[in-house]
């Protein structure tokens, strides 16, 4: 088994084009603040945020086909833990001021622990029941945080020390790329294989010796941890936040929507789908406010009808037929 794992992680099997494209993308994102205005930086930042959320969602739900609609619960927990820590470490003498990455790590681990417990309990549910339970979890978290914050803090808002736009950009970019790499490695590891096997046929996977409940719980917890990291670094764009912002249910709906837009068959498709959809949201959403969401809705219904494999996979297949490419290039 270790041999196949080595093969999965080794650099063989990837052609030079993939590496060149990857290098160009990474360099572009790292050097972007030198030549782009603040607005475009925020666009890039948001698309990376949603790409990371989507790929984290995909890592568990896309592979196992257990649709989770509770990303907002973990996103919000990560965001709110960080916001509260930052606020309280300034106000309260007993709490030491820590650098942001350490707080982010704490937020991620907290999410891992919460999701592990939640997963142990809720992953017995099948199909739509799991989706509904996780959706309820997100909404319940929002209500409880709203109640707790306004009752104990005697204010509805949490104040965060401001960060400069470069720090914000680099925090989100570096975290997002770390998550891409982490999930890429995990997706090709034994755990990822087991998760995909569960998605194909859970009983068969169990018969082949996969400890399905443990694997599912781990996958769910890792996915939640990555979502928590993103929530935690998203805090840097605010100076003030409230539970309604942190647990907004768009963070539950958008990752699955973006993943299904791209297609959930491979690692790249949800990523590309998320980037396309969030760029569309950023550019068209500003110019055509109501029309845009209306058009987006129509597009989504049409894709559900006519391209069940997702836009990216559809285009890939179309291009392969068009140019008669037989081998997979990436």
């Amino acid at each position: 088994m270790s041999k196949s794992r080595e093969k999965a992680l080794s650099l063989k099997g990837y052609n030079l084009i993939s590496f060149a494209v990857l290098a160009i993308i990474v360099t572009f994102f790292l050097l972007a603040p030198l030549f782009l205005e603040t607005y475009y930086l925020s666009v890039l930042r948001n698309s990376l945020l949603f790409a990371a959320l989507t790929i984290s969602w995909f890592f568990f739900s896309g592979t196992t086909k257990y649709v989770s609609l509770g990303s907002a619960a973990f996103f919000g927990t990560g965001l709110y833990f960080t916001a509260l820590y930052l606020e309280q470490s300034v106000l309260n003498k007993h709490l030491t001021i820590l650098p942001l990455p350490v707080i982010m790590l704490m937020a991620g681990l907290l999410n891992f622990a919460i999701a592990f417990v939640v997963g142990l309990i809720s992953l017995r549910l099948k199909g739509m029941y799991f989706a509904i339970a996780t959706f309820a979890l997100g909404e319940a978290c929002r209500g409880i945080f709203n109640y707790a914050i306004s009752d104990f803090m005697e204010t509805h808002y949490t104040y965060i020390p401001p960060f400069s736009s470069e720090i914000t950009y680099y925090t989100i970019t570096v975290t997002a790329f770390t998550i891409f790499m982490l999930i890429f490695v995990l997706y090709r590891s034994k755990l990822g294989l087991a998760l995909r096997a569960i998605g194909e046929n859970e009983e068969a996977a169990a018969h082949l010796g996969v400890n399905t409940s443990l694997v599912k719980t781990f996958g769910f917890a890792i996915s939640a941890m990555c979502i928590g990291f993103m929530g935690s670094c998203y805090v840097t764009i605010f100076t003030v936040t409230s539970p309604d912002i942190a647990f907004d249910f768009q963070f539950s709906f958008l990752p699955p929507m973006m993943a299904m837009f791209g297609g959930i068959g491979s690692f790249y498709a949800p990523l590309v789908g998320a980037v396309i959809l969030s760029l569309l949201r950023e550019f068209l959403g500003v110019t055509l406010v109501h029309h845009f969401l209306l058009i987006l809705g129509i597009i989504i219904v049409l894709i559900a009808e006519f391209m069940p494999e997702g836009v990216v996979n559809f285009l890939k297949r179309w291009l392969m037929i068009k140019f008669r490419i037989r081998k997979r290039t990436f």
């Binding site: 549910l125 989706a131 339970a133 909404e139 109640y147 029309h291 219904v301 559900a304």
Partner: protein
Amino acid sequence: MGPRGSREGRGTLLDVIIGGALAGALYSLVAVGLNIQYGITRILNLAYGEILIIGAYITFIFFNFYGINPLLTLILSGLITFILGILLQVAVFRKLVHSSSSAVELEFRSLFACFGLIYIIQNLLAYIFGTTPIGVPYLMEGISILGERFKTNMVVTAVLSVLINAVMYVFIRFTKFGLAMRATAEEPLGAQLIGIDVLKVHLVSFSMGCFAAALSGSMVCLIYSNLTPYSGTFYTIIALIILILGGKGNFLGSVAGAFIIGCSYYAMLRFKAALADPVIYIILIVVLIIRPRGLFGRQ
């Protein structure tokens, strides 16, 4: 939301039970529609709350612009959304069912299509009518039941909901078409084999769900005057929670679940309004953990 603080302490239990039953009766109509849709067509319609809001807007338009009695607009809103349901089923969901190779794929695709429908309906309504909260204040004066006072419109809507539920129950339980619907819910392939027109059954049950949604939306619109194009999600969640409490495809279970949710929601609104929403979600999560098939579910 009833007046708070004035009568707490005297007869609170009775107040909660009657108020909860009145709210629960309306919620049961909300839930029964979704239950029919999910139980028979096997499509989880997440855009259900949005159809409910369409019903509310139809009542609002006919009352505000044409001065029609709000209770009469129920007929119109039911009819219009029944037709809308037929259109939606034919244009969107029928093809999904036919071109999906497995149940999992159907779930994914219908979820995705429902996200799209939510966007379309919300933004279409916002585009046409704006985002100002709407409501039809009707029969706002109080009425006394066993010494506790309630708004008359709550009582009227509860009675109407029970009536509509009863009619639908009789239709499903005692007519030939209702038998075909139940057979399709149990075993779609077998139903097709013995000559039931499954397409027609799916069409009618989906539209019946929309019909129930719109009627309850019209009635919600009489009680609360704070509906916007975006407030449908709350009713979707209420319907989903009751669906799970009652068990999929269990008509009477939905009614019992609606009573539980109605009572707990009404009681929480009285004592700690900020915790009203979390409490019903927590009830849902606890029920899912203890009895994944629902409190009254079979199997």
